[in-house]
């Protein structure tokens, strides 16, 4: 769900500033919720072009905070958006899976923070 090595590396790269990582994860959760809404709206409207931008950003941000499963799903949607193939099986499965995966990613991220703050 969450690649802790990415979070550890990130943590180290900001001189162990746990407060920064916590704020960053908060920002990620806010932004990714917005991106999910935009993705769902684009899918409902079957607007491939409108799908690309939020999917791309979500893919990228998620990878930064170690949310690799979310990143992978967002990537599938970005590719589908670029190729205009929203109806592909893979794209539909990714769209269906995304909200649930995001829901389980959030507590994993918070748990990592709690652990880091306890260290």
């Amino acid at each position: 769900m969450v690649d802790e090595r990415v979070l550890e590396e990130l943590h180290a790269s900001v001189e162990g500033d746990t407060g920064f990582v916590r704020d960053l994860i908060d920002a990620y959760l806010v932004d990714s919720a917005e991106q999910l809404e935009a993705i769902e709206a684009a899918l409902r409207a079957e607007d491939a072009e409108a799908l690309v931008r939020p999917a791309h950003t979500l893919k990228s941000s998620s990878a930064t905070v170690g949310a690799m499963d979310v990143s992978a799903l967002a990537r599938t949607l970005e590719v589908a958006g670029r190729s205009g193939s929203l109806g592909d099986l893979e794209a539909r499965r990714a769209a269906e899976a995304l909200p649930g995966v995001m829901d389980t990613t959030e507590p994993a991220l918070r748990a990592w923070i709690a652990g880091a703050e306890g260290r």
Binding site: E9, A12, S13, F20, T57, S60, A63, T64
Partner: protein
């Protein structure tokens, strides 16, 4: 790494921007953010020279990394800012394209802190070098401009040959003194002292101005080096600082042109009641040439018997005479008709010298 370095972070993801800005802060860099290429270009153009490095995401909505790079490279004000491409693993092809478009280097996401540090250091060093180069070029340009202006100004005060000599590589050697065979021509006016006593100052300066203008044009036309003006007296020499194989011939041709043109001037002055005549003395021989004078006022001058001889010949010349020393006459006999004026007693020389007057150019 200096604390004053400023980076521009261009990424569509706020999370990515936050991370990069924070990581750059650990390296002592301040950072500004842009969400896409358009914002980035606007910022750079609004603050030219401010950004030391740009961290550029490739795939962005709006203006993407490629277009941003191309726009930067086409803009002289921002083309030299180093660009680090920030790229995902699956975008390696795009990295190659960015480097081809002029990006400095790339960073792979997720960003390794030590690689970031190394790349930023290298980019800032390159930028500093580039800034130093620009600064140096600017100084160079200002210096060249100043020197050119000084040369132009200098050539108004002294002979162009001598102003060129001063600015040349061999200038110091020439100025510090050398011996060379030269031809010296002295010219002055007959009746000038009387005229100067009688004429109004304006009239005096007016006549002198017309005379000097004519003299000056003839000197330039024949490539003479003007040594000095003293009232109506003018000393010109040839074959230095620029060598001239035909230096005697040049001096004679110059003198003949002056005499012809003087006749026209004298006719107009005569109508105004002034009787003025023109005489020239020309001699050839070795002289010592170089910087003569004292700290604060130097002239480029010639010293030697040849100078004295030419000067004395000029004093002995009556109106419209161009007196040549025997040696000078011998060197131009093929181009002029001369008449002997016999032997002249010259003050300062023990023996009388024979001299000839130039009648006409053949």
């Amino acid at each position: 790494m200096t604390n004053s370095s400023i980076a521009l972070v261009v990424d569509d993801s706020r999370v990515n921007r936050l991370v990069l800005v924070r990581q750059l802060a650990t390296l002592g860099l301040e950072a500004m953010e842009a969400e896409n290429g358009i914002e980035a270009l606007d910022l750079m153009r609004a603050h030219p020279g401010v950004f030391d490095v740009v961290l550029l995401d490739v795939l962005m909505p709006g203006l993407d990394g490629y277009d941003t790079l191309e726009a930067m490279k086409a803009d002289d004000a921002i083309r030299h800012v180093p660009v680090l491409i920030v790229s995902g693993v699956e975008e390696l092809d795009s990295v190659v394209r960015c480097i081809e478009l002029g990006a400095t280097d790339y960073l792979m996401k997720p960003i390794n802190h030590r690689i970031l540090q190394a790349r930023i250091s290298a980019s800032l060093a390159a930028k500093r070098l580039r800034d130093l180069e620009l600064e140096y070029l600017e100084q160079q340009r200002t210096l060249t401009e100043t020197i050119e202006r000084q040369k132009t100004e200098l050539s108004r005060f002294i002979s162009p040959q001598i102003s060129a000599l001063i600015s040349s590589a061999e200038g110091e050697r020439m100025l510090s003194g050398h011996r060379r065979q030269i031809t010296v021509a002295f010219c002055d006016l007959r009746g000038f002292t009387t005229f100067a006593e009688q004429a109004d100052p304006e009239e005096l300066l007016g006549v002198l101005g017309e005379y000097h203008r004519m003299i000056g044009e003839a000197i330039v036309a024949h490539g003479g080096t003007l040594e000095h003006f003293a009232g109506d007296g003018v000393m010109v020499f040839f074959n230095d600082p620029i060598p001239q194989d035909d230096h005697v011939e040049r001096a004679v041709r110059m003198a003949v042109e002056m005499r012809d043109r003087f006749a026209a001037l004298a006719a107009s002055w005569r109508k105004r009641g002034y009787e003025l005549g023109f005489g020239v003395g020309i001699a050839v021989g070795y002289a010592t040439l170089g910087r003569i004078g004292f700290e604060g006022r130097y002239d480029y001058g010639a010293i030697g018997n040849v100078v004295i001889l030419a000067s004395r010949l000029s004093s002995q010349a009556s109106a419209d005479q161009i007196l040549l020393s025997q040696r000078a006459a011998g060197m131009v006999e093929e181009i002029v008709d001369v008449e002997s004026v016999g032997e002249l007693q010259i003050k300062g020389l023990s023996r009388p010298v024979s001299a000839s007057n130039v009648l006409v150019l053949r």
